[in-house]
Amino acid sequence: MINVENINFYYGKFHALQNISMGMEANTITALIGPSGCGKSTFLRLFNRMNDLIPDTTLTGTVSIGGVDIYQKNVLVDDLRKRVGMVFQKPNPFPKSIFENVAYGMRVNGMNNKKIIAEKVEQALKHAALWDEVKDKLKKSAFAISGGQQQRLCIARALAVEPDILLMDEPASALDPISTSKIEELMFQLKEDYTIVIVTHNMQQAARVSDHTAYFYMGELIEYGETKKIFTNPDKKSTQNYVTGRFG
């Protein structure tokens, strides 16, 4: 599904990602872990070309999704971002109603059939396990619901444009345990239809939700493998020190 080959990424002269190659299978959850500044968020942003927005950056190597190099000149970034949704650390709903937040992507993409939009909003909210909680207040402001609900609303917003891949950058770090649990349960359901890549500082969360884990340190991919292996018997001492909390 996602394939990365010999990636090097620079912020100016700073070598942020160094010779990284790895593949991610469809319908799996991959966790990216590592200490702050190790390059995991930079790596995540490669997949929807968000790093393009940062000035004075350089990328070498190839990033392919479904066999297509997404950095080829003929790839339209807008089209790419329809296929690759993203959820951020803090919930960031638009200052609009709950309904309009989810409908926004569809409208931007030129859809104006009200019936289809309403159906897809309902479908996305159901998929994000939020429908039952908001179905009676769809016209209320998105800011009127709790932080955990806002984050699931952002997930629904990302799902509404029917992406293939969902990127999550610490999606539960600002949430209480119950909301965190709901997001994690949601991820299990979503992986039936989507490929998920998540950045997390929470080791237990990475262990709980992911199929594969990649450990980054100082811009290098130190170890990548099945999560159950990484958290029971990692190959590298450095990985063991990090996951057991002795380092980082």
């Binding site: 237990q204 958290f231 996951v243």
Partner: protein, 221 residues
């Protein structure tokens, strides 16, 4: 040192303290047997509760570490191994206690040291004590290079156990007192053989902890 490391060290120290007690129980059982000492046998029996208390304490420490610290990788393997080693040590303590009871009963018979000698029981005591010491040092030093030696000693115990069985079953014409004595001694041999099995289990757990390799049941890793 991390708080988790401190707590894991505490756990290790408790397991080693229990090990020392169980070793002492087995050694006293041996000496009670060799000297037919009722006092020493009674001393072993009276210390059994302390072994049980250790088991409960270590169980509780492991449970709390798992619930509160969410250990992973080598830390998780250490706790899982400690939990299983704890169970094995408690069983060895039970068996040492059982041996002491049998010695107590033997002191009420006309004990014939030659019968015991022919069944190689002293050798069994020595082998089990050495096995217990080998696995204790392996755990303490986190070094499993002596695991093979422990497993081969277990084979020696199995052989002695089988020979003793045939020796006793061939003497059905014994007098009642001799037969009773033989059965008591054979019971001790069976318990020592079980202690060897527990030492082997412990050796396998130590290998799992240090190398993440499963040896038990022929290994499935």
């Amino acid at each position: 040192m991390l708080q988790l490391e401190l707590e894991l060290n505490d756990l290790k120290n408790q397991v080693l303290a229990m090990w020392q007690l169980v070793y002492s129980q087995l050694e006293k059982s041996k000496n009670a047997y060799l000297t037919m000492s009722r006092d020493l046998a009674f001393e072993v029996m009276s210390m059994e509760r302390k072994v049980d208390a250790f088991e409960l304490l270590i169980d509780q420490m492991c449970e709390q570490l798992l619930a509160l610290k969410h250990p992973v990788a080598i830390d998780l393997r250490f706790i899982l191994s400690s939990l299983k080693i704890n169970g094995n040590l408690e069983r060895i303590g039970d068996l040492a206690h059982g041996i002491a009871r049998l010695v107590f009963e033997l002191t009420h018979t006309q004990f014939d040291p030659m019968t015991a000698k022919s069944m190689r029981i002293e050798e069994m005591f020595d082998e089990t004590l050495e096995m217990l010491l080998l696995v204790k040092n392996a755990f303490k030093k986190e070094d499993n290079k002596n695991v093979a030696a422990v497993l081969s000693k277990d084979d020696i115990l199995d052989t002695i156990d089988k020979e003793a069985f045939f020796q006793i079953s061939s003497k059905t014409g014994q007098l009642q007192d001799e037969m009773q004595q033989s059965l008591l001694i054979f019971n001790i041999i069976r318990k020592l053989e079980r202690i060897g099995d527990h030492c082997s289990n412990i050796a396998e757990e130590i290998t799992f902890y240090i190398e993440a390799v499963v040896l038990k049941h022929g290994g499935n890793n």
